[in-house]
C-alpha cells in the first residue's frame, strides 16, 4: 500500500488527472496477447478433440481412438481368462488350476478337462457336479455349483476353452464353441440339479 502511494506521488505533481498522451495499453502487449490467444486456440484445437466425451488424454481425436479398436473375433482364451478370474472358478480351482487336495479337484492335467469331446465337462459346468469323482487317480466328494445361469453360452465356451488349452498348465485339447454349449444346454433342459460323475460317464462322449 505504502509503496503505491510513493510511486504515484511524484508522477504528476501539478494535475491530479494523468494525461493520455499515448495509449495506456501498450500496443506490443495487445499483439503479444493476441498471439498467445492464437497459439492457445491452435493447441486447444489440436488436443481438445472438440470436447468429445469419449476422448481422454493421451488420445487427441475420436478417429485416432476408433483406429485403435482392433475389430475381429475376440480371442476366446482372453475372454475365458477373464471369466475364470471373475472371481468364479479361481476361488476353488485356484489360478494355477491345481485345486486344493481333498477338496477341489485340479484342472491341470485332469482327464475330465482334456477329454477330446467336451460334452461331459460342458454338462458339469452348466449344471454343477456333485458326489464322488476320481480325478488324476484321486478321490473327491464335494459339490460344484451350476454356472449355466451365471454365464452365457459364449462365456461358458470361452472358459472351458481356456481350461482346456491353457499352455501354462500343459493342457491341450480342442476348443469348445458356443454352439456346442447351446446344443448341450438344450439337451439337458430336463435335468434338474447337478450331475454326478457316474451319470456323466454313462453319457456317450460325443453327445
Amino acid at each position: 500500500m505504502s509503496q503505491s502511494i510513493k510511486r504515484s506521488a511524484p508522477a504528476s505533481p501539478s494535475s491530479s488527472q494523468p494525461l493520455l498522451k499515448e495509449p495506456a495499453f501498450p500496443i506490443w502487449l495487445i499483439v503479444f496477447l493476441t498471439l498467445l490467444l492464437y497459439a492457445g486456440a491452435v493447441y486447444f484445437d489440436g488436443h481438445g478433440s472438440g470436447f468429445h466425451p469419449q476422448v481422454y488424454a493421451p488420445y487427441s481425436s475420436y478417429t485416432q481412438l476408433a483406429d485403435l479398436q482392433i475389430t475381429g473375433p475376440p480371442n476366446p482364451l482372453e475372454i475365458g481368462f477373464r471369466v475364470y478370474h471373475k472371481p468364479s472358478c479361481v476361488s476353488c480351482h485356484q489360478a494355477s488350476g491345481a485345486g486344493s487336495p481333498g477338496q477341489f479337484p485340479p484342472l491341470v492335467g485332469s482327464e475330465w478337462v482334456q477329454e477330446p469331446e467336451p460334452g461331459r465337462i460342458i454338462r458339469a459346468v452348466l449344471n454343477g457336479l456333485q458326489g464322488p469323482i476320481s480325478v488324476k487317480n484321486q478321490q473327491y466328494n464335494n459339490a460344484m455349483v451350476a454356472w449355466g445361469g451365471v454365464f452365457s453360452d459364449e462365456e461358458i465356451a470361452a472358459v472351458i476353452t481356456y481350461i482346456r488349452q491353457n499352455k501354462d498348465w500343459g493342457n491341450n485339447a480342442p476348443a469348445v464353441t458356443a454352439d456346442r454349449v447351446k446344443a448341450v444346454r438344450e439337451k439337458i433342459k430336463g435335468h434338474p440339479g447337478p450331475f454326478t460323475a457316474d451319470e456323466l460317464l454313462k453319457i456317450p462322449a460325443a453327445d
Binding site: 470436447f51 466425451p53 469419449q54 476422448v55 481422454y56 488424454a57 493421451p58 488420445y59 481412438l65 483406429d67 485403435l68 479398436q69 482392433i70 475376440p74 480371442n75 482364451l77 482372453e78 475372454i79 481368462f81 477373464r82 478370474h85 472371481p87 452365457s152 459364449e154 462365456e155 470361452a158 501354462d168
Partner: protein, 292 residues
C-alpha cells in the same frame, strides 16, 4: 456515472459462462452415461453396479477418510503398439516376404532365427497403420499374428491399473472417491491385484504386519475384540501372534469392516472400454507394490 448495472452484467455473464462450461456441457456430454458393452466381449456390460455390501463399503471408505491418502484414478500417458507373431504356419519364406512387402521397416528377413521362440514381438512400439499392414501381410501368408495395444504411464508401470481411468469407471459411485493425495497406492484397480477379502481385513487391522514398514494407520476400531467363549465366531480374523489379543479373545470384523473389504475387492477397472483401447495380457500381473 453509475456502474452498478455494468458490474452486475459482467458478473452475470462471467458466472453463467462458467456454469455453461463446467456444469451444463459436461452434464449434456456424460450426464446420461450408461453401462455399455466393452470392446472385448460384446455380451458383457461395463461397469456393473457394486453388490449391496460393497456399495455400503463405499460409505465406510468415505467416512474414514481413506481418500485423504488414496486416489482412485490412474493416469495413462501414452499407448504403445506391438505386433506379435504367434505362429509362422507352413511357409516361413512367404511370411518373411509378406513382412518385407508390408513396408514396416524390414528390409530383408533371411535369418532363420527370426521365426524361432514364438510368440515374439516383431514390431515393438510401432504405429497402428504399420501394425495393421504387418498383421494383414502375415495373415495372408498363413501366419498368425496379433496386434497388442498397451497403455503406458507411470501408474500403469506400477501395476496400479492396466489402463487410464475414464468416467464410466465411476458410474455407480456416489460420491466418487477420486482423492487427491497419494500417500498410499492408487486403489482404482485394487480388487484386481488384491482379490482376497481376508488380506484386506488383516491389512486394515494391522497394516504393518502385512506390508513391512507400512505408513498406513491401523483401523482397529473397525473390529471387535471379544471373548471367544465356547462358540468362536466363524468370522473371526486369523491374526499373527504379534498383534493377537489376549488368549481366549478373538478379533471379529464389524459389519463396517466387512463392507469396506467387499468394496475394496470390488474396485476393478481392468475391463477394456472404447475410451482406452488395450489388449489384455493372457495372464494377469498382480504385484503388490506399495507407494514409493
Amino acid at each position: 456515472m453509475n456502474y452498478g448495472p455494468l458490474v452486475f452484467l459482467t458478473a452475470f455473464v462471467a458466472l453463467s459462462a462458467s456454469w455453461f462450461g463446467f456444469v451444463l456441457t459436461p452434464q449434456i456430454q456424460i450426464g446420461r452415461l450408461t453401462e455399455s458393452t466393452n470392446t472385448l466381449n460384446t455380451a458383457e456390460l461395463y461397469p456393473k453396479a457394486r453388490p449391496g455390501q460393497a456399495a455400503q463399503g463405499l460409505q465406510v471408505y468415505r467416512a474414514n477418510g481413506c481418500a485423504a491418502c488414496h486416489t482412485q484414478q490412474t493416469v495413462q500417458e501414452g499407448t504403445s503398439i506391438d505386433v506379435y507373431l504367434l505362429e509362422v504356419g507352413t511357409n516361413a519364406a512367404a511370411v518373411a516376404t509378406a513382412l518385407v512387402n508390408a513396408n514396416v521397416g524390414f528390409t530383408r528377413i533371411d535369418d532363420p532365427g527370426f521365426f524361432l521362440n514364438l510368440p515374439k514381438n516383431i514390431l515393438p512400439g510401432t504405429t497402428i497403420e504399420a501394425a495393421k499392414r504387418a498383421f494383414k501381410g502375415a495373415q495372408s501368408a498363413g501366419a498368425k499374428a496379433q496386434i497388442r495395444i498397451n497403455p503406458q504411464g507411470p501408474d500403469i508401470a506400477r501395476h496400479w491399473g492396466v489402463r487410464g481411468s475414464v468416467a464410466a469407471d465411476y458410474l455407480f459411485d456416489q460420491p466418487v472417491m477420486l482423492g487427491s493425495q497419494r500417500v498410499g497406492p492408487d486403489l482404482s484397480n485394487v480388487g484386481a491385484r488384491l482379490p482376497d477379502v481376508n488380506w484386506h481385513l488383516l491389512h486394515l487391522y494391522a497394516p504393518q504386519q502385512v506390508v513391512k514398514g507400512s505408513l498406513m494407520p491401523p483401523h482397529r476400531f473397525l473390529f471387535n475384540v471379544s471373548k471367544a467363549g465356547q462358540h468362536p465366531s466363524p468370522d473371526a480374523l486369523q491374526v499373527p501372534p504379534e498383534v493377537a489379543p489376549a488368549p481366549g479373545y478373538e478379533v471379529v470384523p464389524k459389519p463396517e469392516a466387512l463392507a469396506l473389504a467387499a468394496y475394496l475387492v470390488s474396485l476393478n477397472s481392468s475391463t477394456p472400454v472404447f475410451e482406452t483401447p488395450m489388449t489384455l495380457a493372457s495372464s494377469a500381473t498382480s504385484t503388490n507394490s506399495p507407494a514409493k
